[in-house]
Amino acid sequence: MAAPKVAVVGAGVIGLSTALCIAETCPSCSVTVLSDQFSPNTTSDVAAGMLIPHTYPGTPIHVQKQWFKETFTYLFAISNSAEASEAGIHLISGWQVFKNTPKEELPFWSDVVLGFRPMSEAELQKFPQYRFGRAFTTLKCDCPPYLLWLEKRLKAIGVQMYTRKVADLWELHSEYNIVVNCAGIGAHQLVGDEKLFPIRGQVLKVHAPWVKNFIRDGDGSTYIYPGIDRVTLGGTREKDSWSVSPDPGTTKDIFDRCCSLEPSLRGAQDIKVKVGLRPSRWCVRLQREVLSRGGVKLLVVHNYGHGSGGFSMHRGTAKEAAHLVEECIAALQGSLSRAKL
């Protein structure tokens, strides 16, 4: 067949990294990214981009660990190269602190991040309300830089990107052989997935360049993540809330909680407020699907529903999605040869 035409719907971290993986594994493919939003207006742009995984209840742990490891290794190499600052990738050390001792012995990712160990008594003194903690070094992907870097790499290998709202995957069947659905929270409407729900997150992005370490409350409610130019202060986890407007009461609450973890934040300047809807699901939907309508087939690969773990898992799931695309191509070529017989 002529070069397979692949459309990737969505241009957040999942869409762009998936498009890149597909283009890398299938150089003969023609890959196009379609999205109604590009950086700086995607959900990914709101996220801090910290590589600290969240556990999906419906995905086997060894699979999640594989995804995280792939992602960490990939980004680690970039952080150690001359491209690091353009790509927005940097190492960051810090602490995860707990008011109550965590139930699990060690998180599945403790041997993937660097230098993971319990905090010393002296370190815990900085957090008087907390009884236990863990110190480690991980990676952070700053957005927009990371997304813009992905876009640049895509353009360099001939991937086209168009602003277009896709309301129905069937719109694409005449122009493309395979559609890859990386629509994130948009999949709720795009493919009618009732199992996908938003977990609303409000964050503050502030100027506080003296904060060099991350701090995270182990319950996930409060976190301080220093980025290249701004520190992300968070946050909220509001299940089923679809509101993208910042709430002033919430802003004050986030600020106060973060200041009690790191008092020097009282001096933070230029506070910007952002809201993102985490595309949450029991498990990441990473699978092939063949849609049928009136005798016509549309091959789809889904890669969405990463919830709080988009950055942590993006490269691993993108590679798996690229494999699924290869399977689709094989299936198409198979049916073509059968047709020729």
């Binding site: 952080s79 150690n80 190269s81 001359a82 491209e83 690091a84 600052s85 927005g88 990738i89 940097h90 190492l91 960051i92 050390s93 810090g94 660097l114 230098g115 160990r117 905090m119 010393s120 002296a122 370190e123 900085k126 110190a135 070094t137 700053d142 360049p209 003296w210 904060v211 060099k212 370490n213 220093p226 290249i228 130019d229 008092p263 020097s264 009282r266 001096g267």
Partner: protein, 260 residues
């Protein structure tokens, strides 16, 4: 009671501050004065990155280790306070790198979370096979809190003749001008300050062959990042050396390719 502190670098100013804190209510007639021919940003301290880290070995001088601990604990205690912002005080984590195993430093229990580097971490730094990770403090002193005089003091006598009762000599590298001290020598350093806000850790390399601070280091501040690695014993030149600039830049870029 007139007390004159000579010198307005980190030692002069912090000494003046300590004296003020401890004595201003006990000695109502206390008049504290700071004399210096150079103030920030022209002191030696302004060239420093401001990282709290003593030399690797205390050479058995335990009193110094006690002073180091007092300093660190004092600063740590101020971390959550409003004064911290004025002092430019914040926590910073980072790496000390070596080409061979070395004994732990005397300050290992003073800093926070001191540990050896894991093999994976060492992958970040080709050429280095051993290292430490710890969390320490940065001090970007900007505050001035005492009455001061912009003046070059030529002798202690000059001060006493003016009616000063106590002189505190914090003249740093040029103390020899007031009282000869052959043991005091300049250790010339040159640095490059760059904008590299993605660097969140200090990285200090050590080469036993070349001596302390003659090996590249990267220390991120709150506004700029200091690149260094020059230590020339006995060199009084305050001019930038193009060759040193080149050395620092090449070595630091090799250490951290992202700097390019």
């Amino acid at each position: 009671m007139r007390v004159a502190v000579i010198g307005a670098g980190v030692i002069g100013l912090s000494t003046a501050l300590c004296i003020h804190e401890q004595y201003h209510s006990l000695v109502p007639s206390l008049e504290l004065e700071v004399y210096a021919d150079r103030y920030t940003p022209h002191t030696t301290s302004d060239g420093a990155a401001g990282l709290w880290q003593p030399y690797l070995s205390d050479h058995g001088n335990l009193q110094e280790t006690v002073w180091n601990k007092e300093t660190f604990d004092y600063l740590l205690g101020h971390l959550g306070s409003p004064a911290a912002k004025e002092m430019g005080l914040f926590l910073i984590s980072g790496y000390n790198l070596f080409t061979q195993p070395v004994p732990d430093p005397s300050w290992k229990n003073i800093v926070l979370g001191f540990r050896n580097l894991t093999p994976k971490e060492l992958e970040l730094f080709p050429g280095y096979s051993y290292g430490w990770f710890n969390t320490a403090l940065m001090l970007e002193l900007t505050q001035r809190g005492v009455k001061f005089f912009h003046k070059k003091v030529k002798s202690f006598q000059e001060m006493f003749a003016q009616g000063v009762d106590v002189v505190i000599n914090c003249t740093g590298v040029r103390a020899g001008e007031l009282q000869p001290d052959p043991e005091l020598q300049p250790g010339r350093g040159q640095v490059i300050k760059v904008l590299a806000p993605w660097v969140k850790h200090f990285i200090i390399t050590h080469d036993i062959k070349y001596g302390i601070y003659n090996s590249p280091y990267v220390i991120p501040g709150s506004e700029s990042t200091v690149l260094g690695g020059i230590y020339q014993h006995g060199n009084w030149s305050e001019e930038n050396s193009a060759q040193d600039h080149q050395t620092i830049w090449e070595n630091c870029c090799r250490l951290l390719p992202a700097l390019q």
